[in-house]
Symmetry: C2
Subunit: 298 residues, 2 copies
């Protein structure tokens, strides 16, 4: 899978499969409370490259996990990702009107519905992981829940968002920015690979390699994101660009400079691919993703 | 435990034990992200009668569950309850300044921190349930997660909150109000008993009786709440009263009238206690709670 077209096709096929599973899991109801489900579906089925779900399914495939099970775990991670975007976009947080080229959830619905839709997506993620259909072994199900909760809670993603707010009024240095980004976006990327390993009851060694891979691409992904915020076109990126600079926020680009940031992202991508050596050809799609992450334009 | 003083002492002892466990589970950290934990602790350790945790520990005690395990599950339910209060109090939702006699979370901190604190408390609840320390049997842990997620998500508490918003502009009839309240507050009360039964690997019959008990006290609790909103004193209740009437919202009281509402609450409380017959004296504290719920003044 060194071919770019082949990788893009695999990414698209995965996104379609994830959308199908999300569509099934987020079933509409009859009552007036269905408005919250409409908002959940609006945000969760609103497109996106589905990078995190791809990491789940491709990591799971290394250990020959049943695809439908991997897709349920992938959908759960995407629900957490989508909830975080909904809450992040709220007026009280980043106050964004545009996401994936569409009105954000609170614009399309209202603030209260957006808060509830985020809450319900987060809750649904854990419900899906805990259900029998995700894995016959209850220990695996409990471990999936535990891993996702740790990655997305106060010591992970939410903590990173808190740091991001702190960074609005404080100048962070390189180690602090790295920690912020590891928590805010890196942990959810890392747990995407981890869920695949948990589903596949992977060895400690395999788990460790995958973790290192995920850590490197997580950072590379964020540097690329910062670069897109500076170099990207809003229409292509699908959200407002230039926001970090306007807010005076320190980013990898403001600290490293554009050229050095590109070099660093490339370095991390290469390093990530090296961690996959023990998996041989089976890890080609994860290698291609590491390449894609630093060369994407949106 | 027919004695009122004895019951009050048991409720207080339980609240203290739950506070101790919450204090341990919500440990502060070194980083600047600790602000979100401060907000979580502010809301979760801010007092309250701890009715839901009491239901967990007393239900668990019916099946001789280890107390520390029951307290972890009780703390998880309380985290979900507290997160829902934080988000419910936000300006975009109920816009309340006062809770348990104290400034609400977004007043004491700010809206963004309150949103994140709610998110993190919800996430932490599932983390706690999925951890080994909650039960040695992974099937029990996964079932705890599943039950709590179902009760608090779009088909439960969050769906009820969505209906509550719908009710601001629509006149609901008695069956609709009953459904709204069952979802908004009843499901979390019911799952509190259910977690005790799951921890104790209770029989289908015992589970069923407890479920019926919880269903009845949930409704009785809500009718009593509506009565407090009409008859209560803000200083004693610890939150603004008269809000429902001011908002023109239909409640059990507006639909039934004060006298009939009192009668109905009492009837449900009696009925709830009858469901506990098979448990004998061991269920005395749950019986006392059913009595307390309709006779409380805050």
């Amino acid at each position: 899978m060194t071919d770019k077209a082949e990788f893009k096709a695999a990414l698209t096929a995965n996104a379609e499969a994830v959308d199908r599973v999300l569509d099934e899991l987020l079933a509409e109801t009859d009552g007036h409370e269905n408005r919250v489900m409409e908002a959940m579906r609006y945000s969760a089925l609103g497109g996106g490259k589905r990078v995190r779900p791809f990491l789940v399914t491709q990591s799971a495939a290394l250990f020959e996990v049943d695809e439908e099970r991997a897709l349920r775990a992938a959908a759960a991670v995407e629900m957490v990702h989508c909830y975080s975007l909904i809450h992040d976009d709220l007026p009280a947080m980043d106050n964004d009107d545009l996401r994936r080229g569409q009105p954000t959830c609170h614009i399309a619905f209202d603030d209260a519905t957006a808060i509830l839709a985020g809450d319900a997506l987060l809750t649904k993620a854990f419900e899906v992981l805990a259900e029998d259909a995700t894995h016959q072994d209850a220990k695996v199900r409990a471990d999936l829940v535990l891993a996702l909760a740790k990655a997305s809670g106060h010591q992970g993603m939410v903590g990173g968002q808190m740091l991001d707010i702190y960074a609005e009024d404080h100048e962070l240095d390189m180690p602090e920015i790295t920690r912020l980004q590891r928590m805010k976006t890196g942990e959810l990327i890392a747990v995407s690979c981890e869920l695949g390993a948990v589903l596949g009851k992977a060895s400690e060694n395999a788990r460790h390699r995958l973790h290192n891979y995920a850590h490197d691409i997580g950072l590379a992904f964020q540097i690329a994101d910062d670069l897109l915020d500076v170099e990207g076109d809003a229409a292509e990126v699908g959200k407002q660009t230039g926001k970090d600079a306007a807010a005076g926020k320190a980013t990898f680009v403001s600290l490293l400079g554009i050229e050095q940031a590109h070099t660093q992202a490339q370095l991390l991508s290469n390093q990530a691919q090296e961690h996959l050596e023990i998996f041989g050809e089976k890890a080609d799609s994860l290698r291609a993703l590491a390449h894609f992450i630093v060369n994407r334009r949106s």
